[in-house]
């Protein structure tokens, strides 16, 4: 299977598109351990990576995978691993070490239901883990949340660039729905992995100063200095890399904040005008870290209410509430354990919020 024609449309699952985009973005080292619903990434890598002259290994565990990424990244290569929720939990120690060693890499989480072994249905319950630093220490991964197969491919290209630009791990946070569904996709992003100079990489010290990659600072004061440097980097990322999609937020009565699969379902409510008497807008965060707090704050000053919709018991809603800081009511609608919110449920919730508010207004 060759998918390298830049102008051609291919019908692929989100997982296949993710793997193919990584290869086309210059990723030459992939390490994975099987888990549903992301196995197509592993399969596609096994077929395509050798054709591209790279290395794809089905390793013995998630820990091996993330630490092999550490090795490849330290040597300056573009490297990736992928898994689904329980497997991503296992990788957390490795992710903390990658962040602490400032190593660029891409980690894909095709989320499934939890906690524990959970099930294999779509979920967004790993939000906290992804954006608040699932491992130990003061660190952040850049978190990108696609909502279609095409956007999955596009964001994988961007993820490798962002990782190299900031020497930081980047996570693609998808879900089982996005990973399994098929849509048309065009691979037309440019890839210039060599435009990032990696003079820090471990490429041999023959005739030059040796490089050291580490996350261990035992001398008193050194670690605090290193943390200050990390925090300065995170501030820069926050100021430059926030991404979101905004639809019909002008003059909206209520704005929905949702990402990934949930955002698509909410879009159906807006675009098909299913609430004729209520003006609904949508703010879809594309970066979950850094979070689009500023725009949500601006929206909260103009609307009657904000509704957050997630496939979780309420995780991103905490960041929405922080951004809004009490300027307007923030409501939540969520489904858990593989449940997917339907447009009907969202319409019911919106009508409930707006009519309750009307009763209060008319009573006073």
């Amino acid at each position: 299977m060759t998918l390298t024609d830049k102008n051609k449309k291919y019908l692929l699952t989100g997982n296949e598109a993710c793997a193919e985009a990584a290869i086309q973005a210059g990723c030459r080292f992939y390490y994975g351990y099987p888990i549903t619903p992301q196995n197509e990434i592993l399969t596609h890598m096994a077929i395509r990576m050798p054709q591209a002259g790279g290395t794809s290994i089905q390793v013995e565990s998630e820990l091996a995978a993330i630490n092999m990424v550490h090795g490849s990244a330290a040597a300056g290569a573009r490297a990736m691993t992928s898994s689904s929720s329980p497997g991503i939990s296992l990788k957390q120690e490795g992710i903390s070490y990658l962040a602490g060693s400032e190593l660029p890499c891409v980690i894909v989480n095709v989320q499934r239901g939890g906690p524990g072994l959970g099930d294999i249905s779509p979920s967004q319950a790993d939000y906290f883990q992804a954006v608040k630093g699932g491992g130990h220490g003061d660190y952040h991964t850049i978190v990108l949340a696609p909502s279609s197969v095409q956007e999955t491919a596009d964001l994988v290209f961007d993820a490798f660039d962002l990782a190299d630009r900031y020497r930081n791990p980047v996570m693609i946070l998808g879900d089982a729905q996005l990973g399994q569904m098929m849509e048309s996709v065009v691979f037309n992003k440019k890839c210039e992995p060599n435009s990032f100079k990696k003079d820090w990489a471990l490429t041999g010290a023959n005739g030059k100063k040796r490089n050291i990659i580490k996350s261990f600072y035992p001398v008193r004061g050194e670690l605090e200095k290193f943390n200050a440097k990390l925090q300065a980097k995170y501030s820069l990322i926050k100021s430059k890399e926030v991404r979101y999609e905004e639809i019909n937020t002008e003059n909206a009565d209520i704005v929905i904040v949702a990402y990934g699969t949930c955002a698509r379902i909410c879009k159906e409510v807006l675009m098909k005008n299913k609430t004729p008497n209520i003006k609904v807008g949508l703010l879809r965060p594309i970066t979950l870290w850094p979070y689009p707090s500023q725009i949500i704050q601006e929206i909260s000053e103009k609307v009657r209410a904000i509704l957050t919709v997630e496939m979780s018991a309420g995780q991103m809603v905490e960041d929405v509430r922080l951004s809004v800081s009490g300027r307007c009511p923030v409501h939540f609608y969520g489904r858990t354990g593989g449940g997917i919110p339907s447009p009907k449920e969202i319409i019911r919730k919106i009508t409930e919020i707006i009519s309750v508010k009307e009763e209060i207004t008319s009573a006073t």
């Binding site: 449309k9 019908l11 549903t36 619903p37 099930d119 294999i120 089982a176 729905q177 399994q180 569904m181 098929m182 849509e183 048309s184 699969t261 698509r264 379902i265 879009k267 159906e268 675009m271 098909k272 997917i340 339907s342 447009p343 009907k344």
Partner: protein, 180 residues
């Protein structure tokens, strides 16, 4: 135009292949398409089901809440999805394997003996293509020549001898509707 169709049947009745080929064919015609297969923990003999949305415009929710059409290959599938039919929609059933259905008043029902037709032309496995022929004769969603070229791609090599019987199955399905 926009068409939301759910395809379902026994694992092995070819609904995955059929849905994927329809998706590919309509994509090549320039339409937007989202094809969401069921996956994973289905048991042997259980229902395999697929949500297929085709539209000239952007497709939002990939999950079908109200279907324009159902293509149902066996009775458990019909039971599972019958409530998702919206008024004035269409129900295509494989009447070789579904004999009793609810008394539908505002739904067009097409009873196609797909398994029998496929068996008569020599390959019971082609019942999925009989259903496509019938469905497309009514809906005209896909261009059959494009569909056949997609099918030919899938049947490359060892499976090439099966192309003709699949093609014939599509024709027989269409003929069945013409004489309905």
């Amino acid at each position: 135009m926009s068409e939301k169709v759910i395809l379902a049947g026994l694992g092995g009745q070819g609904m995955m292949l059929l849905g994927r080929l329809i998706a590919q064919a309509v994509m090549l015609e320039g339409k937007n398409v989202t094809f969401f297969p069921s996956y994973g923990t289905e048991v042997r003999g259980g229902t395999a089901y697929y949500h297929l949305t085709v539209s000239d415009e952007e497709i939002f929710s990939p999950v079908i809440e109200e279907a324009d059409a159902l293509i149902m290959m066996n009775f458990p599938s019909y039971l599972k999805f019958k409530d998702l039919l919206k008024p004035d929609s269409m129900l295509f059933i494989n009447s070789s394997m579904i004999d009793k259905i609810d008394n539908e008043t505002n739904i067009d029902v097409f009873r196609i003996p797909a398994t029998k037709i496929a068996n008569d032309i020599g390959n019971v496995v082609a019942s999925n293509m009989v259903m496509l022929g019938a469905y497309n004769q009514v809906k005209n969603l896909v261009s059959i020549p494009i569909f056949l070229s997609c099918l030919k791609n899938v049947l490359k090599g060892r499976k090439e001898p099966f192309f003709e019987v699949n093609k014939l199955a599509i024709e027989r399905g269409a003929d069945f509707i013409k004489n309905f």
